[in-house]
């Protein structure tokens, strides 16, 4: 492939060389031709300059007039007529001859005469002879009489004159003939030279055309080869891309496979720390837990990165409290920092008192945690400072993480945000880590349309910062729900745990029991559905990946039976698509595996506050009706946020359609005194109302379940449902 390309490249170059040589020859020949043409032009110019009356003709006339005068004199001598007419005729003849004399003196003929010394001499003699006759002819003109003495003098002088003019005539003719012949030879030589040049030029152009045609052919071949090569490259690229995709798939699968046993290790370690252990063993267990956590972190990073590499990241917009977010990050990292004798500071420098911003808190949190974690990792006996600021005009939220750690050399900061890069190998050995953290941060920040950077001085410390567009917004009241409420005041709930993996099941079960929950186990989807149909629960924890009926299918079946018990998905495969699917089939929440006790506690805390799942009547009864017609606005909003407005409207519609039937069932049951049916109907009513955020109705239904129901109470329920119906319809209009 490359050989072919090289060959054609050489061929093109060779052909180009020949063309250049031929072009040079042609240009040289053209230059010669131009020179010849210029010479001819100049020559022509000088020809035009030399335009003059024919010298030969002038000399001939001189000779002719000399002879004519001589003849006239002879005639007079022969006939002896020396009268007035004769004098006049002779004078005129002499005047004509005299007028020819000026020709010999004229500058335009001098060049011809000067080229030959004999010429000059003859010219001088001729002039002198003619001028010597002037006194005699002037005399004749004045007295109109001719003397025989004068005639004799004329005869001698004129004979001598025409002999000389004859010689001049012959010499002039010879000189001019030579010059003409030389000139002709000159022109002929130039002509033959031009002819040769033109032949050469024609030849050169012919070869040039031939070479160009050849070159054209070579270029065409080369371009074909180029196209073929490009095609091969594209195929190779596709293959590489497919390989990369397969690699990512493999990584995701492996990640899942690794995380499941890791889940068991971490869970068991956590349980071990809860039992009575000797100090040494407690330390061993904590090492196991911390090593496991690090391993989990690395796996998560790798999986995150492979996910990001395929651009499958979606950005949400939620109003969040940036102060809480920063505090949380500080809190999470505090333990590790304390081990290194490092303090974490928090500096809020916001443009106003409100702390609500609209962005993706999950992603911002991840970036911040990563930066703080890095800062802590590289700082000993120092300070890590989280500084939060914002630019209200441009709607930018800026978070800086400064440390007093080892710092980074300037040349290394450029590579810092590329994947699999650490400042140098020794750092990898000293501090560990995949080197993916900052690369992930960069991609996340870029997904948020933000910027990330670092300023660092080696030995002094580093300042990592990022800016993301985040508009200030007031915090919703419900957003104040705190996750950290996982404390001893957890409600006691009946929880159904549907999980096929025995270890996971055991771990999660033990967690729940430790947290004081009542747990029922199901080993697969079918069993889970069966149990859920048979018994009533406050919460169902549903594993997503199970043989046979999986979490999604089981949830569908449970929801299809009208059971609105909150279902929380448990999955190790936390993609956005999976989450969407969970919500679509009617799950309420989503929990990433491995399950930790803290997560579970948080979840249970949240569930406990759900009026529908309220553990005691007292709490339920005390739950104050919020909003118009007892509709919990934040719950509805949450529903809208999670499953979409259309779905919520549909759900509410369904609820309002079915509610009268349920009330009818209730009244029927009351008439027949069917306690069980009454209770189930109230339960169903309560569950549905709670799910949709009709808190007042749910509270009523729940309260009546305990205290018993009568006609007045049934009417009260009808009124409540009617009120809800009116409010919803009013709102929709």
């Amino acid at each position: 492939m490359i050989d072919n390309l090289t060959k054609s490249q050489q061929a093109v170059r060779r052909a180009g060389g020949a063309t250049r040589a031929l072009l040079a020859v042609s240009v040289a020949l053209l230059a010669v031709l131009a020179a010849i043409f210029t010479y001819l032009l100049v020559h022509q110019h000088s020809l035009r300059d030399s335009v003059r009356e024919d010298a030969l003709w002038a000399v001939y006339q001189l000779d002719r007039e000399a002879r004519a005068l001589a003849q006239e004199v002879d005639h007079v001598l022969a006939h002896g007529n020396t009268g007035e007419q004769t004098a006049e005729d002779l004078t005129q003849r002499y005047d004509i001859l005299y007028s020819r004399l000026s020709l010999l003196r004229s500058g335009q003929y001098l060049s011809l005469f000067e080229s030959n010394p004999t010429f000059s001499e003859q010219r001088a003699v001729a002039s002198a002879l003619i001028l010597s006759l002037q006194p005699d002819f002037d005399h004749i003109a004045n007295f109109r009489a001719v003397t025989p003495q004068a005639l004799a003098r004329f005869d001698t002088a004129l004979t001598e004159l025409y002999t000389i003019t004859g010689q001049i005539l012959t010499s002039t003719n010879a000189t001019l003939s030579t010059a003409r012949a030389d000139n002709r030879d000159d022109i002929m030589r130039l002509q033959s030279l031009s002819g040769m040049v033109i032949v050469g030029l024609t030849l050169a152009i012919g070869i040039l055309v031939f070479t160009l045609m050849k070159q054209l052919r070579i270029v065409r071949t080369a371009s074909d080869e180029l196209a073929a090569t490009a095609n091969e490259l594209r195929i190779a690229y596709d293959a590489a891309e497919a390989g990369n995709l397969a690699k990512s798939e493999f990584m995701a699968t492996m990640g899942h496979e690794i995380r499941t046993p890791l889940n068991a290790i971490l869970g068991m370690a956590e349980l071990l720390t809860l039992s009575n252990l000797a100090n040494t063993e407690r330390e061993y267990v904590s090492v196991i837990a911390s090593a496991g956590s690090s391993l989990l972190e690395i796996i998560n990073e790798i999986l995150d990165f492979s996910k990001l590499e395929h651009g499958s990241m979606t950005v949400e917009h939620v109003v969040f409290d940036v102060r809480k977010l920063a505090e949380h990050a500080a809190h999470v990292m505090e333990g590790r920092a304390r081990e290194q004798n490092t303090r974490i500071d928090l500096a809020m420098d916001l443009s106003g008192p409100e702390t609500g911003f609209d962005s993706d808190p999950t992603l911002v949190q991840r970036v911040l945690l990563n930066l703080v974690s890095n800062a802590v990792k590289f700082t000993r006996n120092g300070i890590v400072r989280i500084a939060v600021s914002d630019v209200r005009e441009t709607g930018l939220l800026r978070i800086e993480v400064c440390d007093t750690g080892v710092g980074i050399a300037p040349e290394a900061t450029k590579r810092l945000f590329s994947p699999f890069t650490q400042v140098d190998g020794s750092i990898a050995r000293r501090f560990g880590g995949t080197g993916l953290g900052l690369a992930i941060c960069k991609r996340i920040v870029e997904a948020l349309d933000g910027r990330i950077g670092v300023d660092s001085v080696p030995g002094v410390g580093s300042k990592f910062w990022f800016e993301v567009p985040a508009v200030r917004k007031p915090l919703p009241a419900a957003a104040s729900v705190e996750a950290s409420a996982a404390d001893a005041s957890l409600p006691r709930l009946r929880v159904l745990l549907v999980e096929d993996h025995p270890t996971n099941r055991q771990v999660a079960g033990r967690f729940l029991e430790t947290l004081g929950q009542q747990v029922v186990f199901a080993c697969d989807g079918e069993e889970g559905v069966a149990i859920a149909a048979r018994e009533t629960f406050d919460l169902i924890l549903m594993d997503m990946q199970m043989p046979g009926l999986d979490g999604i299918a089981a949830t569908r079946l449970i929801r299809a039976s009208g059971d609105m018990t909150p279902i929380v998905a448990l999955t190790a495969n936390a993609s956005d698509r999976d989450r969407d699917l969970c919500m679509t089939v009617g799950m309420n929440k989503f929990m990433s595996k491995p399950v930790t006790m803290k997560h579970l506690a948080t979840l249970l805390g949240e569930m406990g506050r759900r009026p529908g799942a309220a553990p005691s009547e007292a709490r339920a009864a005390m739950a104050p009706p919020v909003g118009s017609a007892g509709i919990e606005a934040s719950r509805l909003k949450e529903l809208v946020d999670v499953i979409g407005e259309d779905e919520v409207r549909k759900l509410v519609g369904t609820f309002l359609d079915e509610a009268p039937a349920m009330l009818r069932d209730l009244r029927d049951a009351m008439t027949r005194n069917d306690e069980q049916l009454i209770d189930r109907t109230l339960h169903n009513l309560k569950g549905a109302a709670a799910t949709l955020g009709f808190d007042a109705l749910a509270a009523l239904a729940h309260a009546y379940r305990g205290s018993g129901v009568d006609v007045r109470k049934a009417d009260r329920l009808s009124e409540e449902i009617e009120a809800i119906g009116n409010t919803i319809t009013h709102k929709a209009a």
């Binding site: 024919d54 004509i96 500058g107």
Partner: protein, 167 residues
């Protein structure tokens, strides 16, 4: 001879009144005779002009270079076409004859279209035979430089004595 011609003219005068009214008889020495296809004559041989008659015919005076003179020289004399008009010439060719019987044919257009003169004077002085006089046919080399070549040099007849108008 002169008196003879005069007598002949006087004898013919009543029969050909146009003669007298068109061209007067020359009073001085005749220096130019125009013959051939002409309407107005003042002698048997054609129209004869002396110096003063020619000087009265409108002409031009212009400085120019010629192959026969050194540097710029001013030639002055009547325009050839005015002379032709004066004699009522009609024809295609002018046969111009010099004192030494040299003759040249020139197309009549050279007179009609070009400001060709019969030079009488050079630098204000009359042309003698020794100066190629008394009449020298001078083309307007100053106005029409393209005429400066051998073709027109050979037509530039000097020492002119007679012009014959031919078809």
């Amino acid at each position: 001879m002169k008196s003879l011609i005069l007598a002949a003219l006087l004898a013919l005068a009543p029969a050909l009144p146009a003669y007298a009214s068109a061209i007067d008889a020359p009073k001085g020495k005749v220096i130019l005779t125009v013959a051939g296809n002409i309407q107005h004559k003042n002698s048997e041989s054609g129209a004869e002009f002396d110096l003063s008659m020619l000087e009265q015919i409108p002409g031009r005076n212009a400085a120019m270079q010629t192959p026969w003179t050194e540097g710029e020289v001013a030639f002055g004399g009547p325009l050839l076409r005015n002379i032709l008009d004066r004699v009522g010439a009609s024809g295609k060719t002018l046969h111009i004859i010099a004192l030494n019987d040299y003759a040249a044919d020139i197309p009549i257009e050279d007179a009609r279209k070009l400001d060709t003169i019969l030079a009488l004077k050079m630098d204000g002085k009359p042309l003698s035979v020794r100066d190629k006089g008394p009449l020298f046919l001078i083309y307007p080399f100053d106005k029409n430089p393209e005429l400066y070549n051998e073709k027109y040099f050979s037509r530039s007849v000097w020492q002119i004595k007679k012009i014959e108008i031919r078809d």
